[in-house]
Amino acid sequence: MGDFRTPLSRVKGLGSARAGTSHFWHQRLTALLLIPLALWIGFSIAALPVDHATLVSWIQQPLVTVVLVLLIMVAFYHAQLGLQSVIEDYVTAHASRTFVLLASNLMCLLFGTVGVISVLKISFGA
């Protein structure tokens, strides 16, 4: 059997979904980034101060602000990719799958944004 794809399509290697291996690749890259970030937040959460002023001054340290924002963006992107895999495997009806996927993506974007803005608001001392 011949290959019906055009030479260009074969070279690009993007497949019928036109995304190639980007989902797989991004999930792995974010996973790698999340190894140190997850350990950092895990141990930080446990030591989370009950006192508001202490937490605020911790977040306001420039390095903490940067790493927190990075963590939130990478974590929610990783979550979005993972939830997508789960939804695509278990939600079979086309209409509901599309709806659930869109809702899931939107929620990840929304809560990721809310998290980042909260950190920035604290960091800039609102």
């Binding site: 996973a31 895990g42 009950v50 508001h52 979550a79 939830l83 789960v86 998290g115 604290i122």
Partner: protein
């Protein structure tokens, strides 16, 4: 049809899942749990940005017994997903597929997750 004597494969609910299969589905479940659990983290950040009073109110729930159980479970889910995720990353680059290795790393992931959870809890006080 139903009376034919051919061997049938064991159904998922009867088949005893090996440890590796259990960890595989657990990886998905912990992933989904963490996606929802991260909302708690966002909620705490929102509360902290909102002001001291609201943050204090949220923390009374986090400090309560049900909040602490939830947090402990979330931490364990985080570390299990992390440790098992490292197994997946090794598989992705082609290492650790031998049966003994797969079994050994499965047990290592669970033990490491437990150790990290307890260590975090002790450090956190």
């Amino acid at each position: 049809m139903s009376n034919s004597n051919h061997p049938v494969s064991p159904h998922l609910q009867i088949y005893r899942l090996p440890l590796t299969a259990l960890l595989s589905i657990t990886h998905r479940i912990t992933g989904v749990i963490l996606a929802f659990g991260s909302l708690l983290m966002v909620w705490i950040l929102v509360a902290a940005a909102q002001g001291a009073d609201y943050y204090q109110w949220v923390m009374t729930h986090v400090q309560a017994w049900y909040g602490q159980i939830f947090l402990f479970g979330l931490l364990f889910a985080l570390y299990l997903h992390l440790c098992n995720g490292i197994r997946h990353l090794f598989w992705d680059v082609g290492y650790g597929f031998e049966l003994e290795t797969v079994d050994l790393t499965a047990k290592m992931a669970i033990v490491m997750a437990l150790v990290l959870t307890v260590a975090t809890w002790i450090i956190g006080g």
